[in-house]
């Protein structure tokens, strides 16, 4: 197919495709035969179609243009046309549309910034985008279409990578076109007039020399507005004569500012919150369109109240008085002055000149003075001054970045991964310790690799790392506070088995005991979960049945039970009376009682149970006597007793050695221990019983009668 044919058939199919959004018909024309000339042919066809049929003045259907654009994006993806085509379509449209239509169409461009940033489109069309945006910008008035201008700039900022140089004012040029004109009388000092007009400074100087009349004191009005020219072109300040003027003007303006106090809105008669109706005109500070262009307005604390923007200063003479009494205006001018001062002293690569020592001192003093004035300018003067200080500080970073040739900005490099080898790691950390302080992130990463924690202080870190794995720590044996079934229920078992005890005083009737018992059963006993046909009547009854089952199961319990019963029997024998063992009292309070107290209890008449066992604690004399007897007995008899009392051989031996092999002292020591350990259990009856078991009844009898 010839190129002409392709061209015409595309023109033919295009309207339909635009409506349906389907590139199928177009693709079928090309039949996969894609070469560079064909792509150009496609491009020409599409652009022709858009220009001839779609862009028709006021009645242009923007929707169709965007549809074509999307279509071409698709074509480009299928490699059926050059990737520049979508942008060409858009820029053709921009070239032929009115500003209002451009503004609408631009929202399409904005919305699809992600598409333009795709690698497929970015590289080929980035120059086209830049050109297009600049073309539109050139058509716009900065004061009339401020928002649209801003949108375009924002789009460019989003479209290009952060370190793209094309948007930068690389060599710190100034926007010399931003001339602030003000009415100056013809009779007035030629200097100021010519300066603000577009004559060059040197010309103005010549003119002045020609007239050779002394520099007159211009009015504050002209001094004030003449300052704008220095803000426009700060390079002037490096020349001698302009510098002299600049300093004198600045001094005068600052003096006027400092003498003309502003009333804050809250002061004076406005205590009832009445906002002063001082007129607010003006404007921005885009005088230094170079790097120093900061949007101070955004940082104003009260900006919500007065969100106003003016692209240029109003310089009517009659306004000066009002302008001077407007705090916002004053701020603008003061901040302009600060920006200029900052520029004059900053280190900037493309600035050849530099100030002398005295001049630098003047700049520093002026900066200080201006900050003082900003602080006393209501409202929120001090806060405002602080913000400005910070913003100016940021300028230094910006300058540094530009001075070092705008290096591409990368994310901060990730720290080197933690070393796998422990040994080497330690070496590293030693080295690092010697050097400067390590980064917290590194420390944490390293600790994590070793499954350690880093806490705020060393002691915390130590404690935390005792067992870094908290869950494992809870599984430790020593953290298991649940008593064994055996320990918990033994007393209840005993109570159940010695049937003499009153039923209601049994532990199972204690609701605390019962509740804890149930919990424990749930944890430890399979019986808890066995189905029972008998319905549970009351908790004590249920517990009793459970305990009985347990008693059978657990050898510990059954053996202890046996021991207990033996003891019981022997005691019964001994006392020769109807015995009723209430070995342990029901209430824990009584359990804790020391022997002396139980002695007291003994004397009291036991109202409901007068057959309570009488327990007699061993007195000191008895202990001494027993010890003496045992020592006199000689041999290892005393050791037997001590073993029976529950002491280990080795500890007995240890104390024996310590007491210099004196049997009496050793026995005394252990008896003491036994009493301390066993409390109520350590009574006369027990020891007599034990001695009986050891066939030492005579000893027992001699001591205890």
């Amino acid at each position: 197919m010839s190129h002409d044919n392709i061209y015409y058939s595309i023109l033919e199919k295009l309207p339909g495709c635009t409506l349906s959004g389907d590139i199928g018909p177009l693709a079928s024309i090309l039949e996969g035969k894609i070469s560079e000339p064909i792509k150009v042919c496609v491009e020409t066809a599409v652009r022709f179609y858009v220009m001839e049929n779609l862009c028709v003045g006021h009645s242009t259907d923007l929707g169709k243009i965007t549809a074509v654009c999307q279509l071409t994006c698709e074509l480009a993806r299928q490699e059926l046309c050059l990737p520049t085509l979508p942008m060409l379509v858009i820029s053709d449209a921009f070239d032929s549309l009115t500003v209002q239509q451009c503004e609408k169409l631009f929202s399409f461009v904005e919305a699809n910034v992600s598409i333009w940033k795709e690698p497929l489109f970015f590289a080929p069309s980035k120059n086209q985008v830049l050109r297009m945006c600049n073309d539109v910008l050139r058509r716009l008035s900065r004061s009339q279409n401020t928002i649209f201008c801003g949108r375009i700039l924002l789009f460019l900022a989003r479209f290009f990578p952060f370190s793209e140089r094309s948007g930068l004012n690389l060599i710190s040029e100034f926007n010399l076109e931003n001339v602030t004109t003000y009415s100056a009388n013809e009779n007035d000092d030629a200097m100021d007039v010519s300066e603000v007009k577009e004559d060059s400074v040197s010309e103005a100087k010549e003119e002045k020399k020609d007239e050779s009349k002394p520099a007159l004191d211009p009015t504050l009005y002209s001094k004030f507005w003449a300052l704008q020219d220095f803000f426009r072109n700060p390079i002037q300040c490096y020349q001698k004569e302009p510098w002299r003027l600049f300093t004198s003007y600045t001094a005068d303006v600052l003096e006027a500012f400092s003498s003309f106090k502003l009333e804050s809105e809250g002061r004076g008669g406005a205590e009832d919150g009445k906002v002063s109706s001082a007129p607010r005109f003006y404007n921005d500070v885009t005088q230094l369109s170079s790097d120093a262009d900061t949007t101070i307005i955004d940082s104003l604390p009260d900006v919500k109240k007065i969100d106003q923007y003016f692209a240029k200063f109003l310089t009517n003479k009659r306004l000066l008085e009002l302008q001077f009494s407007d705090s916002n205006f004053r701020r603008y001018v003061l901040v302009q002055l600060l920006i200029l001062c900052h520029y004059l002293t900053a280190a900037i690569k493309f600035k050849q000149e530099s100030l002398g020592e005295g001049e630098t001192a003047w700049v520093r003093a002026t900066e200080e003075k201006v900050f003082g004035l900003l602080m006393e300018t209501p409202p929120d003067g001090e806060e405002f001054a602080e913000i400005i200080k910070k913003i100016l500080k940021r300028e230094d970073f910006w300058n540094d970045w530009k001075n070092s040739g705008c290096p591409e900005i990368k994310e901060p490099a990730p720290a080197p991964p933690a070393n796998v080898h422990g040994v080497k790691n330690e070496d590293d950390s030693k080295q690092l310790k010697k050097g400067k302080k390590r980064k917290l992130g590194d420390l944490i990463r390293e600790a994590e690799a070793r499954k350690k924690f880093i806490m705020a202080n060393p002691e915390m870190t130590r404690l935390w790392n005792l067992c870094p794995d908290n869950i494992a720590a809870t599984r430790q044996k020593k953290r298991d506070f649940i008593p064994s079934l055996e320990d918990y229920f033994i007393k209840a078992v005993e109570q159940i088995h010695c049937e003499e005890e009153p039923v209601t005083e049994r532990l199972v009737y204690d609701s605390d005991f019962g509740w804890r018992g149930l919990r424990l059963l749930a944890c430890r006993s399979p019986h808890f979960f066995t189905q029972s046909t008998a319905p549970i009547a009351t908790l004590p009854e249920y517990l009793t049945t459970m305990i009985k089952k347990l008693a059978k199961d657990i050898p510990g319990i059954s053996s202890k039970l046996q021991q207990f019963q033996e003891k019981l029997e022997s005691q019964q024998k001994k006392k020769q009376e109807k015995s009723q063992v209430q070995a342990e009292n029901v209430k824990p309070k009584e359990e804790e009682k020391i022997p002396e107290e139980s002695e007291n209890c003994e004397e009291e008449p036991n109202d409901d149970e007068n057959d309570r066992v009488e327990l007699h604690p061993i007195t000191d004399e008895e202990r001494l006597a027993l010890a003496t007897k045992l020592a006199a007995l000689g041999g290892d008899k005393w050791r037997l007793l001590l073993t029976k009392l529950g002491f280990q051989d080795d500890e007995v031996q240890y104390i024996f050695d310590k007491k210099k092999s004196k049997v009496q002292d050793t026995v005394l020591h252990f008896l003491q221990l036994w009493v301390e350990n066993e409390a109520e259990e350590a009574n006369k009856e027990t020891i007599v019983y034990t001695l009986g078991g050891l066939k030492m009844q005579d000893v027992a009898e001699s001591v205890f009668h």
Partner: protein, 341 residues
């Protein structure tokens, strides 16, 4: 020699005549410095001055062997007060800018020579309604002269020390202040006893015992308000009730007030105060709110003159050889030299 003279030059008093385009300043050498200020009265839209400003006095007229302590302007005359005498200078004569001009009339004080020597005239005030000129004299008296005849009309004699300043209020009201610390309000139709006595040093908010009780300056406005200051801080009083309304700057404890006056006599719109510490001139509202703090070349300001006939013009003078000129009440425009080239 010239330099030393300029260093020790002091301007005690000033007078404006916008109608004649003149500014007069009386200095410590007994001279009247005459400035042509026509150009300052040709204002542009914004209130600025387009033309060339005067640099120094056009002419210095010898007025007295003694310093010119006080000065006041009436429509036809500039009246100066020195030691022992008053002199009236016709504006039209002064406008000639001729050094040899002589006063149109003089009045010698009939003081008690034996007690006071020659009494000086510390302050002058002109009452346009009754055409009287009031002089605050060093012999503890304030005197009223008829401008028409030059005759002494009345003598206000109640101060216990020399009189610093005198001010008029309405057609018959007169206020005087003196070294004795009293501000006396008089009705000149009954000049025997003052109508009211205000003693600023007895007001706790004004008193500054370290500086003394003297009252250096007094002024009235609108027939209702009185402002005075000196050893005690400057304060605003209600003229009829004698009640203190507001305290004014300079507020530090070490600055004697040298000037406390209303900028306009007809309405109490703003007040000018100044002290001896180089702090310049404060312009405040009636409530004491500072609206402008003007720098002044003079370390000690002795005289502030303000006129509003055609345009606002305020001049500030005192020690030193410069007079500061303000074209409004907010900021200083420039300053004039007091040394004749």
């Amino acid at each position: 020699m010239e330099i030393i003279r300029s260093l020790y030059s002091t301007v005690y008093c000033q007078a404006h005549s916008q109608a004649n385009g003149l500014l007069l300043a009386g200095n410590n050498e007994g001279k009247i410095l005459v400035y042509n200020i026509e150009c300052l009265l040709e204002r542009e839209e914004g209130g600025g001055v387009s033309g060339e400003r005067p640099e120094g006095p056009s002419v210095a007229v010898n007025a007295s062997l003694h310093p010119v302590y006080s000065m006041v302007s009436s429509p036809a005359f500039a009246i100066t007060g020195s030691s022992g005498s008053l002199a009236g200078w016709r504006w039209s004569d002064l406008k000639e800018l001729d050094e040899a001009v002589s006063p149109a009339w003089t009045i010698a004080l009939q003081g008690d020579q034996s007690n006071f020597g020659t009494p000086e005239i510390n302050g002058l005030s002109y009452n346009a309604e009754s055409n009287l000129i009031w002089a605050a004299c060093g012999d503890w008296k304030a005197r009223g002269y008829d401008m028409e005849t030059g005759r002494l009309i009345s003598t206000l004699d109640a101060h216990k020390d020399y009189v610093h300043q005198v001010a008029v209020s309405g057609s018959s009201g007169v206020v005087s202040c003196g070294e004795d610390g009293a501000v006396l309000v008089w009705d000149c139709r009954a000049p025997r006893v003052p109508v009211m006595t205000i003693v600023p040093s007895q007001q706790t908010s004004l008193a500054r015992p370290n500086l003394g009780k003297f009252v250096r300056c007094v002024d009235t406005a609108g027939g209702e308000w009185l402002v005075c200051g000196g050893g005690p801080s400057a304060g605003v009083f209600h003229l009829r009730s004698g009640g203190l309304v507001a305290t004014l700057p300079p507020s530090d404890a070490l600055t004697p007030v040298t000037v406390a006056q209303f900028t306009r006599q007809d309405q109490a719109s703003s007040i000018v105060t100044a002290g001896c510490d180089g702090g310049g001139v404060s312009v405040c509202s009636l409530s004491g709110q500072v609206t402008a703090q003007l720098p002044a070349v003079a370390r000690c300001v002795y005289s502030v003159a303000a006129s509003f006939d055609k345009h606002t013009l305020m001049s500030v003078a005192g020690t030193g050889s410069r007079i500061d000129i303000c074209l409004n009440l907010s900021y200083r425009d420039h300053s004039l030299s007091t040394v004749l080239d």
